[in-house]
């Protein structure tokens, strides 16, 4: 059984890679390359997978919420992704890279009995990115 819980955070970022010239960055990233940055209301879907326990649940909602709040939302909400999140330094703050960062932040020392199965982030209502978490061998 899979359970998916949805969270929201708002953050600013700018897409720019040092491997390209300013003109090439503008061409590649368009508006997202605006030097002053811009922001999104990100929507984060966390999916966990496991059997139903004696409480009739896959996971305790409050424990899941606490973990996501502490490791992800408190760190990212109302922040600038380019300057305030050390894990993203040296990486372009695309939602692809952001999803990978969130997956790492959650999967390291994952403390809940249900397995972390997937991290999905919608940057806007039109774009979303999903990373499955491979099953442990």
């Amino acid at each position: 059984m899979r359970l998916t819980s949805r969270y929201r955070f708002s953050a600013s970022h700018r897409l720019d890679t040092p491997t390209l010239s300013p003109a090439e960055n503008r061409r590649l990233y368009g508006k997202c390359n605006n030097p002053h940055g811009h922001g999104h209301n990100y929507v984060l879907d966390i999916t966990v997978d496991g059997p139903i326990d004696e409480t009739g649940q896959v996971v305790n909602r409050e424990e899941l919420d606490k973990l996501v709040r502490r490791r992800v939302l408190r760190r990212l909400d109302h922040r600038d992704l380019n300057t305030e999140i050390p894990e993203l330094w040296g990486r372009v703050t695309t939602t692809e890279n952001l999803a990978a960062m969130v997956r790492e932040a959650l999967s390291e020392n994952w403390t809940l009995p249900a397995r972390l199965a997937s991290v999905r982030i919608a940057e806007t209502a039109r774009n979303s990115f999903e990373l499955e978490v491979p099953k442990q061998r």
């Binding site: 059984m1 899979r2 359970l3 998916t4 819980s5 949805r6 969270y7 059997p51 139903i52 409480t55 009739g56 649940q57 896959v58 305790n60 909602r61 409050e62």
Partner: protein, 137 residues
């Protein structure tokens, strides 16, 4: 090919194990343990897998699927207090997980036929929380 049909029902419930103390129920289920109950607008998405019948061009007769969902889920559960009025939830805690399993049990035998199987039951408790159940465990 996957075919998904949606249905909605609104119901109240209490998530608490009668064998446990109120304190333990509060610790496990939080607000959901309020003995007077509370309600949700549940949204059910049922996904069938199969090949379109060469004669009709359909995986499954949608009118029949609607009738199955109404008969097995919406009619007995809509505007009901699940713990008091919908067995087995007089004995089984009506978490969203257990509700998804019960819905699977009710509809799966009526959907299964040559070339068609029930693939997934997705049940939204709120816009921000849903479970996916594909049978088994």
């Amino acid at each position: 090919m996957f075919l998904t049909r949606k249905a909605e029902f609104s119901a109240s419930h209490v998530c608490a194990n009668p064998a446990w103390t109120p304190e333990r129920n509060q610790a496990v289920y939080g607000n959901n343990a309020n003995p007077n109950g509370h309600g949700h607008n549940y949204v059910l998405e049922v996904t069938l897998a199969g090949d379109p019948d060469p004669a009709t061009g359909m995986v499954f007769d949608l009118r029949e699927l609607k009738e199955i969902l109404n008969r097995e889920v919406v009619d007995p559960m809509d505007h009901r207090f699940l713990n008091r009025e919908v067995p087995p939830f007089d004995r089984v805690v009506p978490t969203t997980e257990n509700l998804a399993v019960e819905i699977w049990k009710r509809i799966e035998p009526q959907i299964r036929r040559t070339g068609v199987r029930l693939h997934n039951v997705r049940l939204y408790e709120t816009d921000d929380l849903f479970v996916d159940y594909g049978g088994g465990q």
